[in-house]
Symmetry: C2
Subunit: 225 residues, 2 copies
DNA sequence: TAGATTGTTAATCGATTAACAATC
DNA sequence: TAGATTGTTAATCGATTAACAATC
């Protein structure tokens, strides 16, 4: 552990980096997409008020979000679209290709493997695994589905730190442990289950059933309107 | 100021009932899955402390979440697993089949159509649409992909209020307007774009690229450890 | 310069959590 | 009853937003 040093009375930071709120990180990805669209429309400069007008995200929030990472704009002028884009990509570390391993080559897994947006965001599915003998050996694009039993061995060469889990809920916990043992540090989990993982491992869940449930609730409250 | 037709997910008020926080609704869906698992394990009663032990969700938060909707437990005893399950399903209105229309029958759309979890949560994809002549007419399970041009007409009979958008980002805004015109009130959007919709319409976004970006950031900060 | 817009501080808002009287 | 656990109030924590001095 690095010794904490004191900044203000009672407050301390580790490594000097202030903690960035998760919602800020989520919005950063949104800003990036927005900036890419702006670039495509040949917009060179944008102000935080323009961002609010076009995305609905509060201008102060936009500026505050960026402020966690430094200074990006010119007072009186705004932000250079391309520069901001590059800097956000740098913050999110999606400025160079990152290998991902995917486990579970069912319908969903296959759809993800074939999704072109991944490559555009510098993510690259470097290996895909399954336990189903009917799927092992099948090729999809440039990938060949491999036996999950070989996961650890294969990742010794790849050294992927990101795993995507597209396995059934019943298998997800065991698979999570497997990929962590293979060196994975962050997991994108599509299985509808809460994974228990060591503190150093970060999990994010994608649950469209949950999203549908929230929408369904809104539907019922809306009906009265 | 934000133009009147912008809606941040969940920002609308409900008639007389106290406003339920969005995170509470999201957790409700998690509780439901958890309770289903408990029932399968023949657990009859559970206390909020047990919930915390098994899911990591704070016991007080669990009780607070439920308190928005009434009283569910017995002091000194806990909650009846099956009863709580039914009541949460009722709150989320997933206690009876709900028709959904899906637009965009590419890899992702097809995967969703084939996903068995939907049916388990009482969601039923009643119609699927695409603009691609190569896809129109193709059948998938019990569904036949229909021409998107017929969407409004088809939904006059179905009266689906939920739409899932699996179309490319460039098409998403137009499709959103189309489904809203067809009577849809809540949208699950898979396209990486911020949809502009009337205030009464609720949108939730599923963006696994965004999730990956957040994970990618965590990866970079972790590296120092 | 004057006008515009940033970065940041302070105020507000809302969600989480701890504490505890009520109650089974 | 005594022990356990709820539902709810109050305290805490954290995120959003408004305001404004700095500055291009």
């Amino acid at each position: 552990m690095i010794a904490p040093f004191f900044t203000k009375a009672g407050e301390f930071t580790v490594n000097s980096s202030p903690k960035v709120p998760i919602p800020t990180l989520e919005r950063l990805a949104t800003y990036l997409r927005f900036l890419i669209d702006l670039e495509a429309s040949q917009v060179e400069t944008i102000s935080s008020t323009d961002v609010e007008k076009q995305t609905g995200i509060n201008a102060a929030q936009f500026r505050k979000d960026l402020s966690y990472f430094g200074e990006f704009g010119k007072p009186g002028v705004g932000y250079n679209v391309i520069e901001l884009q590059n800097r956000i990509a740098g913050i999110l570390k999606i400025d160079r290709m990152q290998p991902i391993i995917l486990i579970g080559a069912g319908n969903l897994g296959s759809a993800l493997i074939g999704y072109p947006g991944l490559r555009e965001h510098k993510f690259h599915i470097a290996a895909a695994f399954d336990t189903d003998p009917a799927k092992i050996g099948r090729s999809q694009g440039e990938l060949v589905i491999q036996d999950e039993a070989r996961l650890r061995e294969v990742n010794q060469a790849l050294d992927a730190r990101i795993a995507i889990l597209c396995v059934p809920a019943a298998a997800a916990q065991a698979v999570a442990e497997e990929v962590i043992a293979a060196g994975v540090r962050v997991i994108l989990n599509f299985a509808p289950i809460i994974l228990r993982v060591p503190e150093r491992v970060v999990v994010r869940n994608v649950s469209f059933l949950q999203e549908l449930a929230v929408l369904s609730y809104h539907l019922s409250t809306d009906a009265a309107k």
